[in-house]
Amino acid sequence: MRATEVVVTTSSPEETRLVGERVAGLLEPGDAVLLLGALGAGKTTFVQGVASGLGCPDEVTSPTFTLCQSHPGRLVLYHADLWRLERLQEVIDLALDEGLEEGGVLVVEWGEAAADLFGEDALVVHLDEGATESERLLAFEANGGGWERRLSSLS
């Protein structure tokens, strides 16, 4: 299947958060979303929006230290961060798929290392700096998982 790609430009952290909220509306139980982007690209900000869109009352902060935090909402949001991990085995040890089997959704910061685990069904989001200091480009890429249909409402 040909990859679907939708690019959204935001001009502030608040707008990045709003895009996260809209993506939350597209999420279904068992979905995995991998976030790729450099330090400061807005990954945690995006996840704060997803959490808000899922109606999670928790304040969402960076899970770099805890590796994975769960936030109950309309769906349980599992928020993971692989910044400190380098080997696939360490990622496997986190058992990130357990929450998905229970009907939650998973959003992974520094998701590169988890790409092999979730394959074609994951939604991949590339976050990049834009032309100005506060501008960000969010490129949504998917090969399966019904994302082509779902992403059409984002553009």
Partner: protein
């Protein structure tokens, strides 16, 4: 059943801490006196990975837990069954927050020991432990104090009125202070752990070289370090030949400015007698110097725990365990690891087991 029949008479505790990368055990009397404290640093192992790696951490804890506990008992003049002139009367362990695999090692060991010895087990919140670190070194600490708890995973401002009575005044909204140090350090190629690396390099840099942004979040005692981290990254990308020590020093200055200003602001609002630092970032030399200078200028007492007491250790878990046992009682045998545990005082339904979602 060893010791007193009334659980609140238990005053000599064996404490175990394995929430992150340290395997630690201690014997503490009356929550105030450290009889022995052993910390087995795993830094050599972790330095290669740029952080705490859970699988490695839990395997290392498994290997170290028995020798570390045995050593703590021996240094306290006790045999490996906790017996001696004054035997252990309760066993405490950190149940959260932390890495689940690592926490499980300490919690399982502590419960097994308590069960075998017929003494109560008490579950301790790691963050609460940090609050007691100052009391261990300064038993006559004048209260209330405002504690700035800053580490790789946590950034909290807490008013402490008495042992077991405290309130969270502010917290980070995005990255922990220590996490910002770790991420900027790795980005600048300074290695791990990031705090000491930035501290070291900054000594040779100009802290006023770059005016990186400070997020003061007017009207709130919360913190935000995400924007600062982003600003440092953007600046270095745009100016690749810039002196690393100047960037490190300017970044550190921005973090310290915010931490010190917010802590003093909290101390004024809380009408505190003084301020305390806690957590790994409290070992940062610039933070220690600036906090002391600024607080003393306003008439606040300042207490800086030793560097060993700033970083993770089991003595502080023994202190917190003593007060929790006294005020709340023993924990159930079903108390397990709680990786996402928040900080909430006992007496408000805040025994470990409750998530802090405030």
């Amino acid at each position: 059943m060893r010791g007193a029949s009334l659980r609140d008479e238990a005053s000599r505790l064996l404490a175990i801490e394995t929430s992150c990368d340290e395997t630690a055990a201690a014997v503490v009397d009356e929550g105030r006196r450290v009889v022995s404290s052993v910390v087995s640093s795993q830094m050599d192992l972790h330095a290669r990975y740029g952080g705490v790696v859970p699988e490695i951490a839990s395997r290392a804890h498994t290997e170290l837990i028995v020798p570390v506990v045995t050593e703590a008992l021996a240094l306290a003049g006790l045999d490996s069954a906790g017996r001696g002139e004054r035997p252990v009367e309760a066993v405490a362990a950190t149940t959260g927050p932390g890495l689940v695999g690592a926490l499980l090692v300490g919690v399982s060991a502590a419960k097994a020991i308590a069960m075998a010895w017929g003494v109560p087990f008490v579950a301790v919140n790691h963050l609460e432990g940090h609050l007691y670190a100052s009391l261990l070194e300064e038993p006559d600490l004048e209260l209330p104090v405002v504690v700035l708890l800053v580490s790789g995973g946590h950034t909290l401002l807490v008013r402490m009125d008495a042992p077991g009575r405290y309130e969270v005044l502010g917290r980070t909204r995005d990255d922990a202070a220590g996490e910002a140090f770790d991420k900027v350090a790795r980005f600048l190629g300074l290695g791990y752990p990031g705090g000491p690396a930035v501290d070291r390099v900054s000594a040779h840099g100009d802290a006023g070289a770059f005016a990186f942004p400070r997020a003061f979040l007017e009207g709130s005692l919360d913190f935000s370090f995400s924007g600062l981290k982003t600003a440092v990254v953007r600046y270095v990308r745009a100016h690749p030949s810039v002196a690393t020590e100047d960037v490190a020093a300017s970044f550190q200055e921005a973090v310290v400015d915010v931490l010190v200003e917010k802590t003093l602001s909290a101390a004024r609002q809380a009408r505190a007698a003084g301020i305390c630092l806690a957590g790994g970032v409290a070992a940062n030399s610039s933070l220690r110097a600036r906090a002391t200078e600024s607080a003393e200028a306003e008439g606040f007492r300042v207490f800086l725990p030793s560097r060993a007491m700033c970083t993770d250790n089991a003595a502080m878990i023994g202190a917190a365990g003593y007060f929790r046992l006294r005020d709340v009682g023993a924990s159930g045998w079903d108390a397990g690891a709680e990786p996402g545990l928040g900080l909430s005082p006992p007496g408000r339904g805040g025994a470990p087991g409750r998530r802090d979602t405030s």
